[in-house]
């Protein structure tokens, strides 16, 4: 074995950093043994690459219309055919990766911290805070997610940012629940009691000790949830309340192809496949991560 693997895999790490890195490396080794998780990782890496190099990969301007070349079947020039305004579907899907990524990232950035904080506070503080926060969570959980998102988008007006906000509003409760459940366990651990005895404030304990311990399960949860976010976003786009045209959002592209579904199958088929592949990628990745990080 080379020296850096020795360094990482040693049984007696000499520094905190070495211990942490070693732990991470072991997890990576475990993760690598899972072929499905690797497929997921590959898909997500490919997604990132396609999004980054979209202008290079796309064969045409995703917004360029050519009404005389509408609804052409897949061919060498248009790999996935053209849509009802004569735009190249392949290029639109390639650029659509950016839209998807933006939605997913924005939602996760908003939802994760909110859910984590509410859940951790609720679980750690208990009492009326817990009851109040959990009641609110219950109310949000009692809504069908898509209907709630739909209502919010209708209230806020369509557009990418508003779709993100709406999805975020509907997505936080499960995070809060997971965080709360984790916190309930962590709270009873001895080291928390020790910190408390040292006189640390409640908020400090929640923020410094409880939150970090909840992170692994939340990361897993987030990765698994990304697929769900993509599907909800696509659903909103499909109902005509997502991204503004002519942005190549995949759900809206399916919706646009709905009218031609029986004759020009390709218009709706390829964006749907793209959603499937990306959502599957996130699911496989999340599933693999769960096995590694969330062994309990």
């Amino acid at each position: 074995m080379s020296t850096w693997t020795d360094y990482l895999l040693t049984d007696s790490p000499e520094s905190r950093r070495q211990a942490r890195l070693g732990q991470a490396y072991r997890k990576w080794l475990a993760f690598r043994r899972n072929p499905l998780a690797m497929v997921g990782l590959a898909i997500i890496v490919a997604l990132l690459l396609v999004a980054a190099f979209a202008p290079v990969i796309a064969t045409a301007d995703p917004l360029a219309q050519n009404l005389d070349r509408r609804l052409l079947p897949p061919s060498g020039g248009n790999f996935f055919g053209t849509d009802s305004l004569g735009r190249d579907i392949f290029s639109r899907i390639v650029y659509g990766t950016r839209v998807t990524l933006v939605i997913v990232l924005l939602v996760v950035i908003t939802v994760g911290p909110i859910g984590l904080l509410i859940g951790a506070a609720s679980g750690y503080l208990g009492g009326w805070v817990d009851r109040l926060l959990m009641r609110i969570t219950d109310v949000f959980l009692a809504f069908p997610r898509l209907v709630l998102a739909l209502a919010f988008v209708a209230a806020l007006g369509p557009g990418l940012e508003n779709a993100v906000i709406a999805i975020a509003i509907t997505a936080w409760p499960p995070y809060a629940r997971v965080a709360r459940a984790e916190t309930l366990i962590i709270r009873q651990q001895d080291y928390i009691a020790a910190v408390r005895l040292q006189g640390a404030s409640q908020w400090r304990i929640v923020w410094k000790h409880v939150v970090p311990m909840c992170l692994p399960s939340l990361i897993v949860r987030t990765t698994l949830d990304m697929a769900g976010i993509i599907l909800i976003a696509a659903g909103l786009g499909f109902l005509g309340l997502g991204a503004q045209p002519p942005i190549p959002e995949w759900g809206a592209m399916i919706s646009a192809g709905r009218e031609q579904i029986f004759d020009q199958w390709w218009v709706a088929t390829f964006p749907g496949l793209a959603i499937c592949v990306v959502a599957l990628g996130f699911n496989l990745l999340g599933d693999g991560l769960r096995d590694v990080m969330d062994a309990r």
Partner: protein
């Protein structure tokens, strides 16, 4: 009376148990009441801030100002928001959900009409999910870590990754347009519309009750595709949960004991292990059922299915307040019921939250 008085100790213990139960029940009930109230409050205010003029749904775009104003007053929109909400909640408690402006029916009647259609879809969907998902989950557990497990996992994850509206479109393209195996969008063929008197409201059952097998087949051919689409969604969840419950059970002492006793593998898996995994599985099935009610929003749009999901979206986009609130209330009540069930069962089963 006197005998009771003579046994105070016994009486108190009885009373204590009853009190404890009453306490739990009242706590749960008040929780439910608060949740429903919160649900109504949020729905009400969302529906009111939506920049869609509800009067438009009543009078249309071309109405003259006097007509518009009269309709606005009739809808109670001239009153302050809190008053509108108070009036509405007051009515809800008497079981009056108001009247839908789009259909001119009372919301209660509307829901009675559309809910069975959704129920029909979600029930068959769940059934399909169980029929495929449970065996798949058991298979995965028995062969844990080996290829059947991997295949089950991929199938499960696929179910989580497919946009339901797209799957529905593809299903229609293939099975209806190309192969002609199933009926198209809608609940029944045109020739069979209105033929069956609604008894349960569930078309296949009503047709069977009447003994009209032509109509039954027609209804079935329309039902099977959207249900299967929903079913695929629930296969994912059910198979994965079955797998994890079965893995836990199969590691238990009694399974080993049963094997040592020489019971057939079939009996060990299906009678003993399955028996114990059954309780949590019921919760899972209930939760999955609930998700299918939600999944029906898009499925119903694709299949022109006259159910609650479509009713709700259509009402929402027309700012038909009473209909939106009524529909949300029904779905919310189902959600709360299922959550309660899974909470109670979860408390019985999972030591972590006990």
């Amino acid at each position: 009376m006197t005998s009771v008085a003579q046994t105070p100790v016994r009486r108190r213990s009885w009373g204590d148990t009853a009190k404890a139960w009453a306490k739990i029940a009242s706590r749960e009930l008040s929780t439910v009441a608060i949740t429903i109230f919160g649900l109504l409050l949020i729905t009400f205010f969302i529906a009111r801030v939506i920049p869609i003029d509800p009067v438009l749904a009543v009078v249309g775009d071309n109405a003259r100002p006097e007509t518009y104003e009269a309709a606005r007053v009739e809808l109670g929109l001239d009153k302050p928001l809190w008053k509108q909400f108070a009036v509405y909640t007051g009515k809800v408690f008497t079981g009056d959900l108001g009247r839908s402006v789009l259909t001119s029916n009372t919301v209660v009647d509307d829901i009675k009409r559309v809910f069975p259609a959704t129920l029909e879809l979600a029930t068959l969907g769940t059934l399909i999910g169980c029929l495929l998902g449970i065996p798949l989950g058991v298979l995965a557990a028995v062969y844990q870590g080996r290829w059947p497990d991997q295949i089950a996992r991929v199938i499960g994850l696929f179910g989580y990754s497919i946009p339901v509206f797209w799957l529905g479109l593809m299903g229609l393209l293939l099975f209806y347009a190309k192969l002609g195996w199933v009926g198209g969008p809608g609940r029944a063929g045109v020739a069979f519309q209105d033929l069956i008197t609604p008894i349960t409201g569930i078309l296949v059952i009503d047709a069977a009750i009447e003994g009209d097998w032509e109509a039954f087949r027609d209804a079935w051919s329309h039902l099977i595709l959207p249900s299967a689409v929903l079913g695929i969604l629930s296969v994912a969840y059910i198979s994965r949960m079955t797998r994890s419950f079965m893995i836990t059970e199969l590691q238990q002492q009694y399974v080993i004991a049963a094997r040592v006793k020489g019971l057939s593998e079939f009996r060990v898996v299906w009678r003993h292990a399955m028996h114990n995994a059954f309780v949590p599985l019921v919760t899972v099935i209930a939760v999955s059922y609930m998700h299918l009610l939600e999944g029906s929003v898009l499925t119903e749009t694709i299949f022109a299915w006259p159910g609650l999901g479509r009713y709700l979206t259509h009402s929402l986009l027309n700012a038909d307040m009473n209909a939106v609130l009524g529909g949300t209330l029904v779905i919310g009540a189902v959600f709360i019921g299922v959550n309660l069930l899974s909470d109670i069962l979860g408390r019985l089963v999972d030591p972590r939250t006990r």
